[in-house]
Symmetry: C2
Subunit: 336 residues, 2 copies
């Protein structure tokens, strides 16, 4: 390990783009130089790296939500450490910080935007890479702002023993929800229930995974916090209740062969898409606004609708069948 | 055709559950009696029926968002007509009304909740079944409240010449958006552009549909108002921009064989699910709230996170590979 003052900065660089699961040969350990901070930057000696599955996305050539790494780049990742030298007014040597793109190396320079202070009086440095870092914040924002759990609802979390998932379930409990985890293996199941306090946890490798999950969600699933995709998602899917919310945070099981196009789920994640199923009868409180606006637009000649009019009750049947075949042209009406 | 005063009410009932596309033999014309309104109800003589593809969903035995019809039921649908007899304080004989479940018959009784007045001074009765009825309101609420179009954005609408789609595109234009329709056939294309004023319209039956659609959306697609599903959706999908919104209003092309379960899109519609792709970096304005809450929960012992700690920079690679295989247990960290 290097220590402060040396000019050697050991780094792990991307040597080849992984095909599927990364292999050790896709990476190479090199010795670089400790960089000099420019004005507005600090030099950090890393004490810890924080690894996250999303880094896999940057190893592919395909654009996802993050820029792909170039071959030879130091591998992207977060780091916690100590400021060694500062040319930034907000940080002094000795400060504990987390850098969002410290990368897999012993030293990095970083500007203020990617840097957050790590208050060691509140929690140790490693927690600022986890519970109080982007993992915890992903759980917090994703569950509360997108999942919007209500007390008494059931929240299901995949990868529930992981950094994000474990925080999601605990926040769900704090908010009065039933938290049901999904993990791989009995040890993780026990940990999630016994130590984190989830109401239940199911091993997706179990032969009767679907039955166990359904039994653990007797009132269905209101919020699904999705980290993994694949068969886990497909098993949760039929259990979702009306007005359920799916927080699509990760698709770890699909990262190794993600293509980033097509009609599947991957673009939902990388493009932050929102898909909302919608039935008018849930939203009738908007009727007065609708009649006011549409009436005005109609009377001003700004909007119109073609009518596809059949005559006589008997014509309802062929008109209906034709409509399902796309043979109607405009609003399908039958005049009696 | 019956006239007011007769006791015969001709009705079309569901004779058999359609297999795939409905056939004429799935329906039967019968003669019923004109019903008597109970207190709080009115008797309506129908002048027009409004047909909508969603009625197909009720013809299957599977529960969708609506109760299935029973065999022998008068076929579900909306009707416009005139109040013949009223036992409801809000309506008088001669009033023009729309009943949301008048069904395919000549007369119906209806309580107040399913009844809306049709102001003929504002628009003719047929418009109260279309542009000013549930079709128009579906367009209005779906586009404005869920799609949230911003001026300058591109809105793509499938089934663009239909009742809902044609209103969506015109509202999009009113809101300053580029409106691009998708329809089947050249006549509908011409109508949508020439008469409704959409910026472009593409025939999905064209051999180069995908290329034409991409060319019509040079800045990608910000809002997709989905009425049909299937290959049309799959073609729009790669064009969606970051933070795009998909208003899932219908899946007409899938109604004839919908199953209502599994991981596909159908439950998204029938259960009004919301799926939101989510990347933390878009939501950093929540950081202060997060640190306040999570810090307090952590210090109160209400939340914790297991750490999966490796030692030494070289261990970053195996730790990362293991994490992608689910072999980590908690937040994956490397101590340097």
């Amino acid at each position: 390990m290097s220590s402060a003052g040396t000019t050697v900065n050991r780094q792990i660089v991307l040597a080849a783009r992984p095909q599927g699961l990364p292999a050790p040969d896709d990476f190479r350990l090199v010795e670089g130089r400790v960089p000099e901070p420019r004005p507005g930057q600090v030099l950090i000696r890393h004490t810890h790296l924080g690894l996250a599955p999303a880094a896999r996305l940057r190893m592919s050539e395909t654009q996802s939500y993050a820029q792909p790494m170039a071959l030879g780049d130091v591998v992207y990742g977060q780091a916690a450490g100590e400021v060694i030298e500062s040319r930034h007014d907000g940080f002094r040597p000795g400060d504990s910080v987390v850098s969002i793109n410290g990368s897999w190396q012993e030293y990095s320079v970083c500007g203020g935007a990617a840097l957050t202070p790590a208050d060691l009086a509140l929690a140790p440095a490693t927690l600022w890479l986890g519970l109080l870092g982007t993992s915890g914040m992903t759980a917090y924002v994703g569950l509360l702002d997108i999942g919007r759990p209500q007390a008494g609802e059931t929240v299901v979390i995949s990868a529930a023993s992981g950094a994000v998932g474990s925080a999601v379930g605990q926040i769900a409990r704090i908010k009065g929800c039933r938290a049901v985890g999904i993990v791989g293996g009995a040890a993780k199941c026990a940990y999630v229930v016994d130590e984190l306090g989830f109401d239940a946890c199911i091993d997706y490798r179990a032969a009767d995974f679907a039955q166990q999950l359904a039994a653990a969600c007797p009132k269905g699933v209101d919020v699904y916090f999705e980290n993994v995709g694949g068969v886990v998602r497909d098993t949760v899917w039929p259990l979702l209740n009306q007005n359920g919310r799916v927080v699509l945070c990760g698709l770890i099981s699909e990262y190794n062969d993600a293509q980033g196009a097509g009609p599947g789920w991957f673009p939902l994640l990388t493009k932050r898409l929102m898909v909302q199923g919608f039935i008018l009868s849930d939203r009738l409180e908007r009727r007065a606004d609708f009649v006011r606006d549409m009436g005005a637009w109609y009377q001003a000649g700004r909007i119109r609708m073609r009518e596809d009019l059949s005559h006589g009750l008997e014509q309802a049947v062929p008109a209906f069948i034709g409509m399902l075949q796309g043979r109607n042209f405009g609003k399908t009406l039958v005049k009696l």
